[in-house]
Symmetry: C2
Subunit: 338 residues, 2 copies
């Protein structure tokens, strides 16, 4: 078994804890609906990070399961709501919660998930300490989602806040702020929760924090590359989803816009701002990016740089199996194609 397979197995070990909290204080007749989202799949990267981080700090993983459950529940909570916000009908090849059950039901399921995370954190040794970080993380995640939406260049005409506050251009710094909030903060917290569960000292917690932050950048930049250049057979997703969604908030697009000469830049902006982006538009946008900019290569370089920085952050952590997991995950993320 490869170390990545072992790590996936570690993540899956949190499933029974996740389900325990999701079914706590739940009406029998609603259980099936509650479990639908968590059963659609997912790689359990966040709980795997919590458990591996706990091991890396030489803690007992049994102490880390409640915190591991809380981060995966939080992740799925945000997915249920993001799918409503983005009108996404499919996730992991299956109907999203709102598509399957309706928007009202999806909102109620999301609220239920959020409370299950609190129930999980109540089983940690210090709900106060874990909750402080958890609440801050989810507020960041919300703000990241807000920025991601405001970076869109069209759509949402029925949403006054978005229409009035859209960004007409962004710096790469804005992109990095957005992805730290939207993706990085919860990945960072997943790592710190492992350290906290192991009662690690500040030096080790700082190492995990830095590792998680860098891994978050690498992970999201990887997602952005895959969105534009992935192979549908492997990813199960349509190529160019971010172009369809009019996004500035994709590393490759943000880098291309900085670099392209005026005429090509205007052409790309024109496509991103079309009411309805067609298949030919996607092809043309990707062609412009690949032919007239080095954005794809730059994004790849950044992804590898952040993965490398993640690994370097771990120098304060002793060499052990947990650290090995974290290093291999960073290596995997620096190269993944789906």
């Amino acid at each position: 078994m490869s170390i990545i397979d072992e790590l996936a197995k570690l993540g899956k070990m949190s499933d029974k804890h996740i389900k325990k909290y999701l079914l706590m204080n739940t009406s029998k007749e609603f259980e099936e609906v509650i479990l639908y989202q968590i059963n659609t799949g997912g790689k359990r990267i966040r709980p795997a990070l919590t458990l591996a981080s706990c091991l890396a700090c030489e803690g007992d993983i049994n102490e880390a399961f409640p915190a591991a459950a809380s981060v995966e529940i939080a992740h799925n909570y945000s997915l249920i709501l993001d799918d409503i916000i983005d009108h996404s009908e499919l996730r992991r090849g299956k109907p999203t919660v709102w598509k399957k059950y309706g928007i009202s039901t999806a909102i109620l399921v999301a609220v239920h998930y959020r409370e299950s995370a609190t129930e999980a954190l109540n089983d940690t040794y210090s709900p106060r300490e874990f909750n402080k970080m958890f609440a801050r993380t989810l507020k960041l995640l919300t703000d990241g989602e807000r920025l991601d939406i405001l970076f869109e260049q069209s759509g949402r005409e029925d949403e006054p806040y978005v229409v009035h506050n859209r960004y007409s251009s962004i710096e790469f710094e804005n992109y990095l702020e957005m992805i730290y909030k939207k993706t990085g903060a919860l990945i960072e917290t997943s790592c710190i929760f492992g350290g906290l569960s192991a009662r690690a000292d500040k030096k080790m917690l700082d190492a995990l924090s830095s590792y998680g932050k860098m891994l978050g950048y690498a992970f999201q930049i990887g997602d952005d590359i895959i969105d534009l250049f992935g192979e549908t057979e492997k990813t199960g997703k349509k190529v160019g989803g971010d172009i369809i969604e009019h996004k500035f908030g994709n590393a490759v697009i943000a880098l291309a816009l900085q670099e392209l000469e005026e005429e090509k830049r205007e052409k790309l902006l024109h496509i991103l701002r079309k009411d309805k982006v067609l298949d030919n538009d996607i092809k043309e946008a990707i062609k412009i990016i690949e032919k007239y900019s080095n954005a794809r290569q730059k994004a790849e370089t950044l992804r590898q740089k952040y993965s490398q920085m993640a690994i370097e952050s771990l120098s304060a952590i002793p060499n052990n199996k947990g650290k090995e997991y974290l290093i291999e995950l960073a290596n995997f993320i620096s190269l993944r194609r789906y």
Copy 2:
């Protein structure tokens, strides 16, 4: 100043705490949007209950402000989401959050509110104890909202879960279960939080629990009476909103359906199940209920019974100013017309 005015003033004392938590970890540029919902008004009944319950248990109200803030934030969190679920465009005479800013923004604001409640509870003396009750309460609230929706007799054709699981008839017991979950549980928790903040003993906590539960029934039955028989000039609401929303989940309607003879019952059901309920339908439904059933009077009697039971629950509490507030509030709720 009447004792009810004093109690309202007590509730308002929680406002600066509520705002402190809402603005914690918030982007400057999002603050105005975050504060909109809480600034639309509201009677602050829940924090008033927490503070009065703390006083009734001879505690220091300064210890109760974080918990008082958490219940009002939870209430507003549920209102933001309920307004999305019910497509409500106005609340307290102002546009609802989704109507003013758009649905995506409203969802993000709701998530932010939820985390602010956690931040508030982190300032209590035992986040574990408060969070346990809080999570359970919000799961009940979610389930109550689910039942309320399933008791509707038309609409939501685009929501598969609702269409497939609607109740075609309900017992009064089902109604009571639904309102305990939807309304009563958070009112009960508001009271218990005051007792916990005062470090009250089990006997007093049980008294507050029973008081809150009974008050919740009286409060919601009162709301249902006002929905059908209130005066728009006083309530600021259209008469018969629950008929427009096709609801079985209104005390008067539920009681009338039990009592009406076949023909009138069918007529009322027909109106509740119409795709679109017109003004004349509302008038007719109310006429049927008033002329051919004693449902209005029965609901009034129940409201008074539950208010009385709330007051009787307080016998374990010593006579003091806090108890006086709780008694007067129950008296007020047994009679209120708006």
